[in-house]
């Protein structure tokens, strides 16, 4: 992976988009085991229905994981300094999530080259699931 150069990054630049495979029920079970979040709303359809979602819903943190993947596909993880996400809509199996981002600011602080980007994860209907921001040191 080639680290983007601070001098070549401009405000408004897009981070390369990441298009994920459709979220699957098996993936939710895997993520439950990996993360330790065993809320049954993520793997028991009956619980998802009781909650009014018609079935299981994805862990918000899985979608934040997609955001982390998109960022670290673009810049090495050691350069990532802060990551913030807000969970705004639920994700269901079958949803195709695309992560996009955009540089909103750059500054030099304590001799460090900092970029700030906004980032969001949307489904196939452009419904935003997660919106947030990150800060990286290049």
């Amino acid at each position: 992976m080639k680290t983007p150069l601070f001098s070549e990054i401009n405000i408004g630049d897009q981070m390369p988009a990441l298009v994920k495979d459709p979220v699957s029920e098996v993936q939710l079970v895997k993520y439950a085991g990996a993360s330790g979040d065993f809320n049954p709303i993520h793997f028991q359809n009956a619980v998802g229905k009781m909650a009014g979602f018609g079935g299981v819903i994805a862990h918000g943190m899985l979608i934040m994981g997609f955001v982390g993947q998109a960022i670290t596909d673009w810049i090495p993880q050691r350069n990532l300094k802060k990551l913030k996400a807000r969970f705004v809509n639920i994700t269901k199996p079958g949803d195709v999530i695309t992560v996009t981002g955009r540089v909103t600011a750059k500054r030099i602080e304590d001799r460090e080259n900092i970029i700030i980007c906004e980032v969001k994860a949307e489904d196939q209907n452009s419904q935003v699931k997660v919106e947030g921001s990150f800060e990286a040191c290049l």
Binding site: G33, A34, M61, G65, G68
Partner: protein
């Protein structure tokens, strides 16, 4: 109980050993195939001590190493079926690699009431044995009325 009185209270500290297989499991569940999460050699070539934890791994440390969701609900007096994860923040101070022993301290940093919501800000600080602070997190938990 007046929930705002809980601000400043904390959970018992705990220590979690980061295993290579746990990192791999998390990366595979996300569907992130980067070798830095599964290959020790590839991670070392990039200057890490071993495979590194992906950016959202802090949650895994919380849930596998610390008190479970029901204990958190008891701590804050929450109705478990009314709880949502509203926001999540991480600040990275160093890498977390397989083999690290991470000690976590967690406290309630803030509480606000908005319309029909109780909003809790829970802060955690993660320290690696022998290396110092590596991660900070803030979780915003919303309890609907």
């Amino acid at each position: 109980m007046e929930k705002s009185k809980l601000v400043g209270s904390s959970l018992p500290e705990f220590t979690f050993r980061v295993e290579k297989g746990k990192i791999r499991e998390m990366a595979l569940a996300i569907g992130d195939g980067k070798k830095i999460y599964t290959g020790t050699e590839e991670a070392k070539e990039l200057g890490h001590r071993d495979v590194i934890a992906p950016p959202t791994f802090g949650l895994c440390i919380d849930l596998w190493g610390g008190p479970d969701f029901m204990e958190i609900c008891r701590w804050l007096g929450l109705n478990p079926v009314k709880v949502l994860h509203g926001e999540q923040e991480f600040e990275y101070l160093g890498d977390i690699c397989a083999g690290d022993e991470i000690t976590v301290s967690t406290s309630l940093a803030g509480y606000t009431e908005k319309k029909s919501m109780h909003i809790f800000s829970i802060d955690s600080a993660y320290t690696a044995a022998g290396r110092g602070p590596v991660l900070k997190s803030r979780k915003t938990i919303i309890e609907l009325q």
